[in-house]
């Protein structure tokens, strides 16, 4: 922060500054009511789900093995809609 050294300055008003990392701190997982469920019989490991996920929360573990991070997954269903092999179903989440 570029505070002047000559005179005493006020603190910035509330909410002006957000330090980097807010996307990590702001856990969006509880927003959704659906979650992706993978059918490993149909999955070919093509990576479409990982690429399409707007939250970047599908991780490729190994060939034909993916994992969604439910701390951040909003259950938007983009992965299920984009999967060329219908290997992802959006199922209601019970908490």
């Amino acid at each position: 922060m570029t505070a002047s050294t000559k005179k005493k300055r006020r603190k910035p008003p509330l909410g002006i500054i957000t330090r980097p990392g807010s996307s990590l701190r702001n856990k969006t997982g509880p927003w959704g009511i659906l979650r992706p469920v993978f059918d490993w019989e149909k999955c070919t490991g093509c990576n479409t789900c990982e690429i399409i996920c707007p939250e970047g929360c599908i991780r490729h573990l190994e060939k034909k093995q993916y994992e969604a991070d439910f701390e951040y997954c909003k259950g938007c269903g983009m992965c299920a809609a984009a999967c060329p092999f219908d290997a992802i179903a959006m199922e209601e989440e019970h908490r």
Partner: protein, 389 residues
């Protein structure tokens, strides 16, 4: 130096003297001469600013938002439809607590399309968090811009300021104005020293998402600082007087209100016409005065109560209307005086819409109708048109 110049040129000269780093605007009548003049000054190397041409007022305001966020002094000007297009960004600039100045040239809003003066446009954005000052004449317009930068950049304020001037009535009128020197303005207005700015070596986000656990406190601080900024507006007027020897009021300014039973309250250039009319009525023995509201946001609540404490009848003239309710300033003056000792009757007169001339006859009509007890009315209506419709 005293110069015979157009109101728009007075604004351009004042803004140039304030040394903005970034100017961005989209031309729109009757604001055009201001930004034409400024772009010429930049092109001629008279001022060291970046002039950013944009495709809309939304972009002009956005460019200025970014410029202030990056630590630069910024300026824009617009009017009417342009101000409406800017509205979304105006709320953001205030909410992000970015100090800047724009000239809100007053012009009627569509529809019907009108390029002429009233004050519906700037009054429509009165809740944006911008402070609003209304100028009576071109000298005040010039002085107000210099004061506006001083106010907005004050640590106690950090809210943007809109200097409102009547389109054509002021922008296109030639008057003699005293233009200060660069040295005088530099001594009054130090370079902008931002409290916070975007810096790649110390990254952060401005105006980010705030959830229900935080939003209300942020808005509370905006309201608290906006109310407290009244002291800074007054201080700027006093300091300006000490430096330049001119005084045109701080938040309100009374004219011939001593012993007045009736006080007319208004904003902007119509104050000049009202003063002349009051002089005539005073000669006839009528105890009438004029109260100029110079600073509309923050609202001069205590000052209005004090100035109108002895009035029996208050007539608030407004070149706008809150459609479906009543005049905006009249409603606020009523609320301010409600429950005060010896509460006067407050009459709301809407007039001068879309450039309709406001003459002595208009004031005489207001006087007659408010005396007769009419509370809310349009003055200067062409009855023959209404009867024919």
């Amino acid at each position: 130096m005293r110069k015979m110049i157009e109101g728009s040129q007075a604004v351009a000269e004042a803004v140039g003297l304030c040394r903005p780093g970034v100017i961005s605007a989209y031309p729109i009548t009757p604001q055009t001469h201001i930004v034409e003049e400024l772009s010429q000054m930049v092109a001629d190397g008279e001022i060291e600013a970046e002039y950013v041409r944009v495709e809309s007022e939304h972009s002009a305001a956005s460019v200025c938002l970014g410029a202030v966020a990056a630590g630069s002094r910024a300026y824009s000007a617009t009017t009417s439809q342009g101000l409406m297009l800017m509205a979304e960004v105006l709320f953001n600039i205030a909410g992000m607590r970015l100090p800047m100045v724009i000239t809100g040239v007053n012009r009627a809003l569509s529809a019907p399309l009108s390029i002429w003066n009233d004050q519906q446009d700037t009054l429509a954005v009165r809740d944006s968090g911008w402070l609003q000052l209304y100028a009576e004449n071109n000298q005040e317009v010039l002085d107000m811009h210099i004061q506006a930068y001083k106010i907005t950049e004050d640590d106690r304020v950090l809210l943007p300021v809109m200097v409102c001037m009547d389109g054509f009535v002021l922008t296109h009128t030639y008057e003699t104005v005293d233009v200060p020197t660069q040295e005088e303005v530099d001594a009054f207005l130090p370079p902008y020293d931002p409290l916070y700015k975007l810096d790649p070596s110390d990254p952060y986000t401005m105006g980010a998402f705030a959830g229900p656990e935080l939003y209300q406190e942020i808005r509370f601080e905006i309201q608290r600082d906006a109310l407290a900024s009244k002291d800074v507006v007054k201080e700027a007027a006093r300091d300006f007087q000490a430096a330049f020897g001119r005084w045109m009021g701080d938040v309100v300014d009374a004219y011939r209100c001593e012993g007045a039973d009736t006080v007319y309250v208004a904003m902007g250039s119509v104050i000049g016409t009202l003063k002349d009319w009051v002089d005539i009525r005073r000669e006839k023995g009528d105890k009438i005065g004029v109260l100029k509201v110079r600073c509309f946001r923050p609202f001069p609540l205590d000052e209005l109560r004090e100035s109108l404490a002895n009035a029996k009848r208050v007539v608030v003239l407004e070149k706008a209307v809150s459609v479906g309710a009543y005049g905006i300033l009249p409603g606020e003056v009523r609320a301010a005086l409600c429950g005060q000792p010896n509460q006067p009757s407050v009459h709301a007169a809407v007039t001068g819409l879309g450039g309709r001339d406001i003459t002595f006859d208009t004031f005489d009509e207001m006087e007659e109708r408010s005396q007769a007890g009419e509370m809310d009315f349009f003055a200067g209506l062409r009855q023959e048109l209404l009867e024919a419709s």
